[in-house]
């Protein structure tokens, strides 16, 4: 219980000048970004399963969408000048909803962690990995504190502000990444199977779905 309170206090009153392990300074923003990516990807997978597939008897079947194909067909029994020489025939075909939607993977593409670190102490610990033990007996630990942000103005009235901001900048760029290989394969498979059907057959196959 005490630990939780201490944690809550740490979050509410961050100590900018505190000595921290260099690994944790670098890790913290990266862990936050990977958590954000997981949340985004989970949302997208949930969307795909909920709206693009139907779960029937523990099997996911794609939601199919009916499209109409119209094409002019020449009636060689008639002369080009006759009415009905070119007849427009309509056929239906089905494709998975998945192939119609503008899907892309929105995720964090770039993370830039920028800070100046003052090394305040150097320690070491015994290497625990057997493989490394004969190469490196001890591993170094660097502790430091994030250097305070230099004051923006040279006004003498605000020297204390320099200590309330640390120079640790994390910039994050979200971008549309290519779809996963698995999803692309599924889309490709269905897209290749697109075949037109005469209207009546399409209606029948709709009933079967």
């Amino acid at each position: 219980m005490e630990n939780t309170n201490a944690n809550a206090y740490d979050r509410a009153h961050p100590k900018f000048g505190a000595e921290l392990n260099i690994e944790s300074i670098i890790n913290a923003p990266l862990v936050a970004v990977s958590k954000a990516n997981v949340t985004m990807l989970t949302g997208q997978v949930r969307f795909l399963l909920d709206y693009c597939f139907v779960n029937e008897h523990k099997m996911y079947k794609p939601v199919m969408i009916t499209m109409t194909l119209s094409k002019g067909v020449v009636n060689y029994g008639k002369q080009p000048a006759d009415a009905g020489y070119i007849q427009v025939t309509e056929m239906a075909f089905q494709m998975p909803l998945l192939c119609l939607l503008p899907l892309n993977t929105l995720a964090i593409e770039k993370v830039k962690v920028d800070f100046d670190l003052e090394i305040t102490s150097i320690g070491s610990y015994k290497s625990t990995r057997k493989k490394d033990a004969h190469i490196v007996a001890r591993k170094a630990v660097l502790n430091g504190r994030v250097a305070p942000q230099p004051p923006r103005t040279s006004k003498a009235s605000a020297p204390h502000q320099a200590h309330s901001h640390s120079h640790l900048k994390v910039s994050v760029n979200a971008g549309a990444l290519p779809l996963s290989k698995g999803l692309l394969t599924v889309i490709d498979l269905y897209t290749k199977a697109i075949q037109p059907l005469p209207q009546q057959e399409a209606a029948d196959s709709n009933d079967k779905l």
């Binding site: 949302g43 109409t68 194909l69 503008p102 899907l103 929105l106 075949q195």
Partner: protein
């Protein structure tokens, strides 16, 4: 985002935009001139899914 599907007749890629399909637009195969449209009964499921997808993207961009 530009999408494409193979023409059901000749397999040439037909470029389309699903938002325009929903508005009743036809997309024509550059090779055999076959035209594709969305069947009226499919408007609702496509519109619903697109609305959800747009919402999801907006949430993620925040």
């Amino acid at each position: 985002m530009e999408q494409q599907m193979p023409c059901p007749v000749c397999r040439t890629p037909i470029f389309f935009n699903v938002y325009h399909l929903l508005q009743g637009e036809r997309f024509v195969c550059p090779n055999c001139q076959a035209a594709i449209t969305l069947s009226p009964e499919s408007h609702e499921p496509v519109q619903n899914a697109l609305d959800k997808l747009d919402k999801l993207k907006q949430l993620q961009q925040k």
